[in-house]
Amino acid sequence: MSVAVLGIAIAVLIALRVPIAFAILGPCLLYMWSHDQSVGFAMRTATNGVNSWPLLAVPLFILVGFLATRAGIAERVFALILSLVGRVRGALGYVNIGVSLGFSWMNGSALADAAGVGSIEIPHMQKKGYPTKFAVGLTAASSVVGPIMPPSIPAVVFASVAIVSTSALFAAAIVPALLICVALAVYVFFWARGHEELRSEEFSWREVRSTLVGGLGALFAPVIILGGILGGYFTPTEAAAVGAVYMLLLGFLYRSLKLRDLPKVFADTAATTAAIMVILGASSLLGWILAREQVPQNVASAFLELTDSTFVFLIIVNLLLLVLGAVIEPTSALVISVPVLLPVATQLGVDPVHFGVIVVLNLMIGLMTPPIGGVLFVLSSVTKTPVSTVFSGVAPFLVPLLAVLLIVTFVPALSLWLPTLLGL
């Protein structure tokens, strides 16, 4: 069985609705057996792909997100930001971005943002007269901040596949995440100029004070999680565990979390984790085969024969990943593409950490593009609106997102400045 046959078999099985993990495992298993590897070797290699300290951050960060949602953190952040900018024209637009930003420090996934925060924001916006398409589109677009701003599940997975420092990748994504917020805010600013009627809430210091007290616990979470990692006090895995303990305490303190809720929260987290990890296990089998057949080296030399232009390479990478991100779920897209693309990137002098930011950004934008875009389906389900309506709401927001993607791709300093400054 050649690598080409292997690749085609995997693609066909994925298209025929075989769960991605098994679509990869099946052909890889046949490859191993037809190449004389011992029985049990595939099992060992697949389990070994999950046996990693940095990857332990994945379940723990998912747990932090679930607990934060349970503890009602998003609502508290929402109330706080609303009390601050409520009087501005198009206020709920800025609030929408701000809540995604405020929640992003406890949340590593775009779908958690869209589902958790979106279900609070969208009804509120609809009630105040914002068009549903705008509300849904902005919620989708701002949900990408969740997994780009650390903590980030895709960043943890990239770091483990590419063997770079998770802390450095976390630090590198902060400026791009803020850029997305600014770009979306600019979009909202121009959009709101045509909607004079959307200025509503009265500003009151009393309201700010009371929501500030409620939101204080939430505002301290990023200090622990981000501050702990960037200050070098914790590894990302440790920070995730400490963050989870903090969220537990906060939930009990707010009385929004009961001891009897915990089994369900833990079981849900475990199920979500398992779905990602089985794919990572399968892909480590694929990765072993690619390494054994020296595919990354061959792809790199074939590409470098065509062109040695970093610019061309990055353009191709962006197009490839946007398409990949639109048809396959991000973790799978990441573990399949990174082992092949990264060697070319490093040979062309692209910093692996910068490359990680580009990859994550692309795949997250892919989450809001048909046919697979998970964010579209989640929002369609949350708002009971057809997916097509959701997408037509999202489409205009792709402009600011793609603009940020281009800037981040071609200005490496935006990503590398902070990790260099922090010595990560």
Partner: protein, 316 residues
């Protein structure tokens, strides 16, 4: 191996995979694996070597399992890693078991070593081809380490393996296990105060940026085993076996020279530039006597026997 010659002892040409965890530039690749590859390519044994450096085929423990099962042909493994499955070999990594590389190789060339290798083969299906020198492990900290008392109040990082933690205890240090990739950050943030590694590793990992002193304790003569899967070994013809054995053993001396050259060059560079204060008046006698007492008291059974055989071979 995924080669086409299954023929036990046949004369067809074979390709053997040679995996390790070191970067391409490391002496074990430059002066080790790649030299073996060239030697065999130039010979007429029909054995071809494919090198997979940098843990491409998996981390240490997993690759050891793969050699045992025949999925990787040749690999380089430290004794501490192997000792999880074959405990006694850990004694090769005991603190001050050897004073220098000469003593190491004196023992490796004894019958006691061969007998130990034979037991390893019986228990795990992994054959030791030879031992290569990995360098002397030295302590770094922001102060000199001259006597065991100097460890007072210091948190020293040791690798996460029972033998290394025994070494810490034997030397009188408080061990903190930290994953290798996280050592730099931990030193920078002061969650640990020092660590121990061979000089080239200290340089490669930039520990010099966050540590001021390197103390030449030489507390462990680092060594690695070049191992081959017994299944792969038996699939070779006797000519091929001879060629592989010779290529690995012939590389031993050149590999050692490369390591020692790197050690000396880096130390000279540090002294000249003042990057690190090199502390060379370590109280080696106190350290090694303390370690010997400790291991004689704490090792048991086969491990104690191997340790004593080592100490005997070096004339102590």
């Amino acid at each position: 191996g995924d080669d086409d010659s299954g023929g036990s002892g046949g004369d067809e040409s074979v390709t053997l995979s040679f995996a390790n965890s070191y970067p391409d530039e490391h002496p074990h690749n430059q002066c080790g694996a790649m030299v073996v590859q060239e030697t065999l390519a130039d010979g007429d044994s029909g054995v071809e070597i494919e090198v997979f450096s940098n843990s491409q085929l998996g981390p240490d423990a997993e690759r050891f399992t793969s050699v045992a099962s025949g999925d990787i042909d040749i690999d380089i493994q430290g004794s501490s890693a192997i000792s999880a499955s074959f405990e006694e070999i850990g004694a090769m990594d005991a603190a001050y078991a050897f004073a220098d590389a000469d003593e190491l190789f004196t023992f490796v060339d004894t019958d006691e070593f061969d007998a130990m290798a034979e037991r390893l083969l019986e228990e795990t299906g992994v054959r030791v081809l030879d031992v290569w020198y990995f360098g002397m492990r030295q302590f770094t900290a922001n102060q000199p380490i001259r006597t065991p008392d100097d460890f007072d109040g210091l948190r020293m990082r040791f690798p996460d393996s029972p033998q290394y933690l025994m070494n810490a205890e034997a030397l009188g240090a408080e061990a903190t296990p930290v994953a290798f990739e996280e050592v730099f950050l931990a030193l920078q943030q002061g969650t640990i105060d020092g660590q121990e590694n061979p000089v080239p590793t200290i340089q490669d990992m930039n520990f010099t940026e966050v540590q001021s002193h390197v103390s030449l304790t030489g507390h462990q003569v680092g060594s690695v085993m070049a191992i081959i899967s017994e299944e792969s070994w038996q699939s070779l013809s006797s000519d091929q076996q001879e060629a592989v054995q010779a290529a690995i053993s012939d590389a031993r001396e050149g590999d050692r020279q490369c390591v020692e050259e790197a050690e000396n060059d880096i130390l000279a560079e540090w002294e000249e530039s003042g990057t690190m204060t090199v502390v060379d008046d370590v109280d080696l006698d106190t350290f090694s006597e303390q370690a010997e007492t400790f291991f004689n008291e704490n090792y048991e059974g086969a491990q104690l026997e191997l340790y004593q055989a080592i100490r005997e071979s070096v004339g102590s």
